[in-house]
Symmetry: C2
Subunit: 232 residues, 2 copies
C-alpha cells in the first residue's frame, strides 16, 4: 500500500474502534500505511460504556479524519454477558466459547462498516481481530474473515463494478505482547484505552475479567509498564 | 423439512419482515413449512415508516410466535434515497444500481438475524430477496446469499459445533406475479402490506416509485385485484 490512490489522494479506510488496546493499535497501523481513517464505534447497549469515550479519545489522538458512533440496540436480542444484565461477566477462564461472546457481533459491525465504506468510496476496512491471544470467539478466526471478505465483494456496488474490497486484520497473528510493542513503536498511548468488560463509568478496569487478564499478561510479557487504571 | 425437530418440537426460524408483499409471502411459506417463526423488522431511519406497523400487523395475521423491531440508525452513514432526506426517491426507472439502494442493508439485516438465530437456537433464516423482478441491488443475487451463508457458518457457535445454518430465499426465482399467486394460495391478505418507498404515514402508496411499479405490474400479471390503497 503506497499511501496514494490513482488520483494522488490518500486512500480512505474505515477502521473499527472499540476504545481498547487492539483497535487503537490497528488505527495506528492504518495511519502508518497512509490511509485517511474514518473510525466507527458502536453504542450497542454494552455494559462497558467507558469504551465509547475511549473510542473518541483514541480516534482524535491517532489522527482519524472523522469518528462516528452508531447506535444499534443489540440488547433486543440479548444472549451475552456484555449486553444482558442478567448474565454475569466471568472472572475465571472457562473452556469453549465464553458468555461474553456477543452473537454475530463482528459480522454486524463489519456489515455496517461495509455500508459506510461504500458511502465513502473506501475499499479498505480495518478490524483488530486476533487468532492468538483471543477469547475463543468464532468470529475472530482467519477463515471467518476470508469468508466475510468474499461475501462483501458480492454484496456491494464496488464489487459489482470490479473493484476489490479488503478486510485488513493486521493483528491476526500477533501475541498481545507483540501488539503492545508494535503500538508503542507507532506512538500509541495505551493509557487512553479501556479493555475491561466491566469498566466503571470513569474507565477504571476491574483487573479480573478475561479481557483484563489478557491485557495484564500482554504488558508483563512485553516488559512494558502497564498504564491501565485499575479499580483497586 | 418435516416440521418437527429431533425433540419433536416445531423448529424455530428467524424471518425478516419489511411489511411488504414479498416478506409477507415468505412468512406464509415458512409457516407452511412448519417453522415457529420469530419475525424481525428494523427501524433504520427509513422514510417509509408505515412499513413498521405493517410488519407488526402481518406478523400477527400470519401467526408469528414473536415480532421484534430493532433500532439501528443507518442515517448515520447515509448514502441512500431511503434514509437521506436530501436524495429524492426516483419515479422513473434508471439503469444500474438505483439511489434507493441502502449500502449493505441486506448484509446488516441478515447479520442481526444471525445473532438472534444464535440466541434462539434457530438454524434457519428466511429472507424475501428476489433475482427476477428485483430492483438491481447487488445484495439480492443468489451468489451473494450463498457467500453470506458460508460466512455465517464460520461466524457462529452453531457452525463451530457442527450444525448447519441455512439462509432460505424461497422467492429467489419467482416473478412478482408468481409470488402473489403463491401468497394468495397460502392466505396472505396483501391489503395488510405496504411496499411503497414513500408511503404516507397511514400507509397510502404513491403508485409511482420503483417498488409501487413492480407491485402494480405483479397484480396485473397475476390477474388478481390489487388491494393496495393509493394516495390518488
Amino acid at each position: 500500500m503506497s499511501g496514494k490512490d490513482l488520483a494522488g489522494k490518500q486512500p480512505r479506510a474505515v477502521v473499527l474502534v472499540s476504545g481498547g488496546l487492539d483497535s487503537a493499535t490497528v488505527l495506528a497501523i492504518a495511519r502508518a500505511e497512509g490511509y485517511d481513517c474514518h473510525t466507527l464505534s458502536f453504542d450497542y447497549g454494552q455494559r462497558h460504556r467507558a469504551e465509547l469515550s475511549a473510542s473518541a479519545r483514541v480516534s482524535r489522538s491517532l489522527g482519524a479524519v472523522e469518528h462516528k458512533t452508531l447506535s444499534i440496540d443489540l440488547r433486543a436480542i440479548g444472549g451475552s454477558a456484555l449486553t444482558d444484565e442478567d448474565i454475569a461477566v466471568p472472572e475465571a477462564q472457562t473452556p469453549g466459547i465464553p458468555v461474553t461472546y456477543v452473537p454475530a457481533r463482528n459480522t454486524v459491525f463489519l456489515s455496517i462498516a461495509l455500508g459506510w465504506a461504500e458511502v465513502l468510496g473506501a475499499l479498505d476496512i480495518f478490524i483488530g481481530v486476533n487468532a492468538v491471544d483471543y477469547s475463543g470467539y468464532p468470529d475472530c478466526r482467519p477463515e471467518y474473515i476470508e469468508a466475510f471478505e468474499k461475501m462483501a465483494n458480492l454484496a456491494t456496488r464496488a464489487g459489482v463494478e470490479g473493484h476489490r474490497l479488503n478486510i485488513h486484520t493486521p493483528l491476526m497473528e500477533l501475541s498481545k505482547a507483540e501488539i503492545i510493542r508494535r503500538g508503542m513503536a507507532l506512538g500509541v498511548d495505551y493509557a487512553e484505552t479501556v479493555s475491561c468488560y466491566q469498566a466503571s463509568s470513569d474507565g477504571l478496569a476491574c483487573g479480573r475479567c478475561d479481557s483484563c487478564r489478557l491485557r495484564l499478561q500482554g504488558f508483563a510479557e512485553a516488559g512494558v509498564a502497564d498504564p491501565t487504571r485499575y479499580a483497586n
